[in-house]
């Protein structure tokens, strides 16, 4: 595409005030207009610095079989100004109240030749812009097909980006830090193998995309409220440094089936000269609808352990039998198969986990591999792969849930779908009913492998719709959902807070699959976590995976103290302690932090943050004056200087500090940590060194 757009600022800004919008604090300015051909474009500035150059808006669509360009020939009919400053109370989150403060313009547009009305709704927050397309009810537009979204995000310079490869099926990639112009040359290196993956361009990247300008600004591009629309990726035009929206297609190459009145998700651009503001932004949640679940009393944060890491590392197996088996649900007689000693989800072993959870105060125990079908569950395009209700012969679902209940622990259900979405929907009511019947209140669902129906992708409209269907139906059953390999979240948990977690990124499991880059955990809060919590499954204490499984030489690229820091840095209402009980027993003093760290917060302060380098976060424990601090550090050793002025003045606290030992290093000395207790007040400052791949965790308890 030849770019023929001219910058709006300068040309138009002075003369046309209606096409300008400023954030509540005046720091961000939006300009938008139509040019002589009626094409729409917008531009964004932060503190008089242009951050989005003149960028196109619009669509290519198909209406009654005819192609139609909805990016030109428009005129602005009307602009309605609006604003909001309200607070709302999340069911769970990083603070007990969230402020939703923005200015708004609803721009009514009409295409001259077709008469089609399309509106643009711009919302400016102090930390960024959200905008979406709206198609009001009208005579000139009913059903239509989006064949391309033309939204652009024109970069002003060759910024540094923290990116993962654009892919229709997976977000489980390590981040690459590079200049925009280097994306294509680094793409192949960045594109690691996955069970299901479909790239579309060597300059394609995923959102949330974190950027840093040479002028010291932090930008973040993402979307909010992705409902019944394909996930948006970004494709860079390297000649012009313009990101174009790149939607996930369906089996026939269409992007979205729409019906007016309708709107797209919000396209979001965050900006600040302080990286901490990106972490502190609640723009993404604010752009979602308020909670639609009336009674949310059953939605509760959970800290859990599980029968999981032993399978991930290859020490144990999900499958009941290790012998080659081609299983048919409802036909295979498992009593005729030789049980494997490696089958972890057996009654005795799970009871041991329940005991361990009860002893150490965990809320839940996840058990994977409990239900029949795991022998050939993956890679076979197998439609009827699981039924979600039939336990293996050695898993006594009734007695285990009774035993858990007696011990004050809840079992967490696991529904691996193998990507067979129709099969999951066919069994969903029965599966959720089975859960409620047996005392399960939360489910971890999974979508490993290629999607069925064939031709659909993990992030295409129809499958995005499936994940939403599962969450809404779960809400009907009062079930919490933690969906893995589903589309990355976009703040939908505001509306459906039973969506307590997602994976949708490269989680800790990859530390057992060859390891993740050291900077990974310093980037995820700027990217994946923008849209909602991640079930990252931290807490791995044994970094040498060969000690669990001699055939697995993977190394966890993290110090033990870094693992502790994650519990505070990565906000989630659902946190696992992923490692084996036997490994926790070796480090019970460090394990104490995982046991102690709370799951509910009333306030969060971001003390330090630089993507790819470090993040230090402090959170106020709900209903107390206690504070908890976490730090994760990148590849270079670094000393954090923390000012504890968020503590209550005049009050004394006992701080327990879990930190890297001086000689700690993620590679060769990851388990070297020190625990220190000291008295602190709001006047205290702390200097704490984090090792390469290190971190620290602090519990500050009011005396």
């Amino acid at each position: 595409m030849k770019r023929t757009l001219f910058p709006l600022f300068g040309l138009l800004a002075a003369s046309i005030s209606a096409n300008e919008l400023h954030s509540p604090d005046g720091g961000i300015s939006l300009q938008y207009d139509t040019d002589e051909s009626g094409s729409l474009h917008y531009e964004l500035a932060f503190q008089d610095q242009t951050i989005i150059d003149a960028s196109m808006l619009g669509f290519e669509v198909r209406i009654d079989g005819e192609a139609k360009n909805l990016s030109e020939g428009f005129e602005i009919l009307k602009v309605v100004e609006g604003q909001s400053d309200e607070t709302w109370t999340p069911v769970w989150g990083e603070e007990s109240e969230i402020r939703n403060h923005y200015t708004e313009q609803l721009v009514s547009l009409q295409q001259k030749d077709s008469g089609i009305q399309m509106n643009l709704r711009f919302r400016l927050f102090d930390e960024g812009l959200g905008f979406r397309y709206e198609f009001p009810e009208q005579e000139n537009l009913g059903h239509f097909v989006v064949t391309d979204e033309l939204t652009e995000f024109a970069m002003t310079a060759d910024h540094t980006a923290f990116w993962i490869p654009g892919d229709y099926d997976s977000q489980e990639y390590d981040y690459t830090e590079s200049r925009l112009t280097e994306i294509s040359s680094k793409f192949d290196d960045a594109y690691s193998d996955n069970a299901s993956q479909t790239s579309f361009s060597k300059t394609g990247v995923q959102t949330a995309l974190m950027l840093k300008t040479d002028t010291g600004l932090y930008l973040n591009l993402h979307e909010a409220a992705l409902i019944d629309y394909p996930a948006m990726h970004l494709n860079l035009d390297p000649d012009y440094l313009v990101f174009e929206a790149w939607l996930t297609p369906n089996a026939v190459g269409d992007m979205a089936y729409m019906q007016a009145p309708a709107h797209t998700p919000w396209r979001t651009i965050m900006v600040s000269d302080d990286a901490r503001d990106i972490l502190a932004s609640r723009m993404t949640y604010n752009l979602n609808e308020p909670c639609k679940i009336e009674d949310t009393s059953w939605i509760k944060p959970m800290k859990y352990i599980g029968v999981w890491w032993e399978m991930i590392t290859g020490k144990s197996s999900w499958a009941y039998t290790d012998e080659p088996a081609s299983i048919k649900i409802g036909e295979t007689d498992y009593t005729q198969l030789k049980r494997s000693d490696r089958h972890a989800a057996n009654t005795d072993h799970v009871k041991m986990y329940i005991d361990y959870a009860a002893k150490h105060g965990f809320d839940g125990v996840l058990v994977e591999g409990w239900n029949i079908g795991w022998e050939d569950w993956f890679g076979h395009e197998k439609d009827y792969v699981f039924d979600f209700v039939t336990p293996y012969p050695d898993f006594d679902v009734v007695s285990l849930n009774e035993y858990a209940s007696e011990n004050g622990v809840e079992l967490i259900m696991h529904h691996e779908t193998s990507g067979s979405t129709r099969n999951y929907e066919r069994h969903m009511d029965a599966a959720y009913s089975f859960m409620k019947q047996h005392g399960y209140n939360a489910v971890k669902s999974g979508y490993v492998g290629n999607i069925l129906p064939k031709g659909e992708y993990h992030y295409s409209q129809s499958i995005v719709n499936h994940y939403q269907y599962a969450v809404e139906k779960a809400a009907d059953y009062e079930i919490m959902v933690n969906a893995h390999e589903a589309v990355r979240p976009t703040g939908i948990a505001r509306t459906y807070p039973n969506l307590i977690g997602n994976e949708s990124a490269r989680g800790t499991e990859f530390q057992a699959f060859g390891g993740s880059r050291v900077h990974h955990v310093t980037i995820l809060p700027f990217t994946r976590l923008i849209g909602g919590p991640m079930d990252y499954t931290p807490g791995v204490f044994e970094m040498d995976i060969s000690k669990l499984n001699p055939e697995n030489d993977s190394h966890v690229n993290s110090t033990l103290a870094n693992q502790l820091g994650l519990y505070v840095v990565f906000y989630s209402p659902l946190h696992m302690a992923a490692d084996l009980p036997e490994n926790y027993d070796r480090f019970l003093d460090a394990f104490q932090f995982i046991k102690d760290v709370p799951m509910e917060w009333s306030k969060t302060v971001y003390l330090e943050a630089e993507p790819g380098r470090y993040i230090t976060t402090a959170r106020n424990e709900k209903g107390t004056e206690n504070w908890w601090i976490g730090n994760v550090n990148g590849a270079d050793a670094r000393t954090a200087e923390l000012n504890l002025d968020f503590l209550v003045p005049g009050k004394t606290y006992t701080a327990t500090l879990y930190r890297d030992a001086e000689d700690a290093h993620y590679l060769d000395n990851p388990q070297a940590y020190e625990i220190e207790m000291l008295e602190v007040t709001s006047k205290s400052t702390l200097k704490i060194q984090s090792a390469p791949g290190g971190g620290f965790a602090i519990g500050i308890v009011a005396d």
Copy 2:
């Protein structure tokens, strides 16, 4: 493809007896073998006349991502002979007992290089061959993907075929009678428009395919027990006159996902020198599994009228409002829309139909257009198109079902899916529950328009699986299913007799869409009805559709007497009287036949049959000595000569004869009929003339 096969007969027949199988009466002989390259082929003869020349067998598959040819390199390991001669009792059907009489060979094959085992199971009945591929449980084959089925049906000469165009989405075509070599030149003319259609080859045709040789043999190619596999079409290689199996692909071009142990549907070849034997064959049912529904007492044949023909003709509408509307289920407030007087499914109008059904002894009243969503239901790839449980404001579902019940009539539910299969499955439990709650025991389902998920076809494996899912789930609810636009039946109703009907062909509705060819009804029993009953919706008395709707100038290409004959010639446990009550009231004497004709039979005798020309069928009314005869005639006037020797000797009967008047003609004098009563015995013969497009119907009641 270059054909290099040599005929087996002569070369091999004398020497290798193990590779030969004869039908119970010896009339049909099968030969099969592997050649020097280990390729499989078979040959079929009837009374020493070769009817299938040496034809290839096998597949192209993909195993663990690798392409593999499963048509060569095989050796025969073992042949196990078998036979059966049993009778079984159908829940409904053309006779009260069905004989299942065949010889069998199960041929165990192994591919030398791969070790893969594949079996061929041949069953020879007196009227034809059924064979299928079986993949036994084995170490060398678990999951695999069929990318092509290579089965051939090599014709011995340029036969006459009665064919409809091969299509992945529709069977709603008029039949073309032509030589095989003429198919490609006549294809475009044969390919009429449909709401959803996807052709694949100008020499592609559908099964059941009816053929006639110049030597006077009748052949029929079809399949039986199509379960979890794509529907098979046939593609002619015109150079060699070889039909190749042509499966319906999915969105990515794969045909079938299989998992050993597995088998294909049966491929069937019927042959006789008497066309009546094709109609009399129960081979297709016999090749299906016995009934899997334990208590079948709730499955009952039904004669019904309905709020339907008035919409088909355009006199009334399915939609509640005629104003342009873009409807969203759950969002649109119908009370805000202007009700159209054309909305037929309103309480008063339906009550009139209930009254009419009660007065004339019909079992049921179908009502279409009762539920919200019809305003924009079609052609928009609309996922959430219907919810199947919300009536329009003017349809009082509770009072109407009470009213029907008080009058001894059942309302028949209608579920149009618009091809949105996921949406139907999501609502299926609620929809079936709603039916049972309100007293509905039967549902007519519909699949008009393109299939969702996009890329799937009406006849691809995944969607074939959907229809089966709907039937099996309906059985759980004790609901009878009559599925329109679903895949054509293949005898599955033996196993699930709650599948009481299908459309899956060009039904009577096309008489209001421009008309069907006159010979149509003389071919359907040889093709579409081979696999199961059709809800053909006969009984149209007013052939000039403009009398119902001045804007519709369609003409019904049939005489009134032909319409009556259909009730006997077309076996179905579900027959509609499709026309409007007001039209029946004009011809109450002819209507009497529709009222009288029974729906259950204990015996059937095919008196005369010639595809494309005429069929005359006599059936014994269950539990009585009464017989009912129907005739449908093609384009040329013809006199039937009927010998009534099937009547009980010595008994006298009163026959009521409904026949074309002398000057009747489907085009310009279709309503000219005569009714005659006469005494008959088993020694009587009748000569009855049928007009062009005419027919007759006779009720023979024992005195």
